[in-house]
């Protein structure tokens, strides 16, 4: 669990150029991390590469917070 979170966090910090402390499970990409919709699409793409999987568009649309992403990856 922590492992997935840390890996996701590292990607978010790098991609969105935000402070590590802001990346919590509850943080919303758009509201808290100042990502636009294209940023979120890009993040999902990077997560797919990092975790070697494909996230269907319908699933990707439900990912709004850091926790959504982490939980989705853990559910696989």
């Amino acid at each position: 669990m922590a492992d997935v979170f840390d890996r996701v966090k590292a990607i978010i910090v790098d991609r969105l150029d935000v402070d590590e402390s802001k990346v919590t499970m509850e943080a919303s990409f758009k509201d808290d991390l100042e990502a636009d919709s294209l940023d979120v699409v890009e993040l999902v793409m990077e997560l797919e590469d990092e975790f070697d999987m494909e996230i269907a568009d319908e699933e990707a649309e439900k990912i709004n917070t850091v926790g959504d992403a982490v939980n989705y990856i853990n559910s696989l």
């Binding site: 294209l38 699409v41 890009e42 793409m45």
Partner: protein, 246 residues
């Protein structure tokens, strides 16, 4: 000008697409030559590109079929490593008066000429976003701006391509991906060779420059849009029509 860049040109076995593929290669680009039916013609284009000294291969795909297109893009990236330039050129015509046009004639043209651009653009976007650069050039048509009797399907598709070009340009500009269109007028190809002398005369009367265009006159504009010389141009539709529509 395009040394080491890699390009995919759809519908590149004949006509304007063929000329675009060759022109990009003359500027140093490696080119994937997409075709749907004419494999032998596609091979000729590949051979000509290799003779110029660039890499090329042919790849069959129906541009409106997402699964086909995904495979094609994968292959281009596997062969060339990157995908810098996409030229959406593949197109068909099924001309008929609106009153006579069958639903399938409308659907076929919209599928290949409009949906095909959407499918191919979506499929390359991932790679271009990763690269943080890319050029997409859509081959629209002047009739998509002016309308043309007997071509309701074709005109609707081409006008759609112009709108799609603008939206894609706006969505991807922040990722350094430029998207532009060209709108050729009457260009001398297989498509226009079938015209009668009378039709030809009628066309020439509408063209201020007084002659049909040549495929290479379209290809050179595409090459310009694909190059860094056009680095501040996105979302535009360049008319290449001898002044027919201003």
């Amino acid at each position: 000008m395009l040394q080491g860049k890699s390009a995919l040109v759809t519908g590149a076995s004949r006509g304007i697409g063929r000329e675009i593929a060759l022109e990009l290669a003359r500027q140093g680009a490696n080119v994937a030559v997409n075709f749907s039916g004419s494999e032998a013609k596609a091979q000729e284009v590949v051979d000509e590109i290799k003779a110029i000294g660039c890499n090329a291969f042919k790849v069959q795909a129906d541009v409106a079929n997402e699964a086909n297109v995904k495979e094609m893009i994968k292959e281009v990236i596997a062969q060339f490593g990157t995908l810098d330039i996409l030229v959406n050129n593949a197109g068909v015509t099924r001309d008929n008066l609106l009153m006579r046009m069958k639903e399938e004639e409308f659907d076929q043209v919209i599928n290949t000429n409009l949906k095909g651009v959407f499918v191919c653009t979506k499929a390359v976007t991932r790679q271009m976003m990763k690269q943080k650069s890319g050029q997409i050039i859509n081959v629209a048509s002047i009739v998509g701006v002016s309308g043309n009797p007997g071509q309701a399907n074709y005109v609707a598709a081409k006008a759609g391509v112009i709108g799609l070009t603008k939206t894609t340009a706006k969505e991807l500009a922040s990722r350094n991906i430029r998207v532009n269109a060209v709108a050729p007028g009457f260009i001398s190809t297989d498509m226009t060779d079938t015209l009668t002398e009378e039709q030809r005369e009628g066309m020439l009367d509408m063209i201020p420059l007084g002659k049909l265009g040549r495929p290479e006159e379209v290809a050179k504009v595409v090459r310009f849009l694909a190059s860094e010389d056009a680095s501040y141009i996105t979302g535009q539709t360049i008319h290449i029509d001898g002044g027919m529509v201003m």
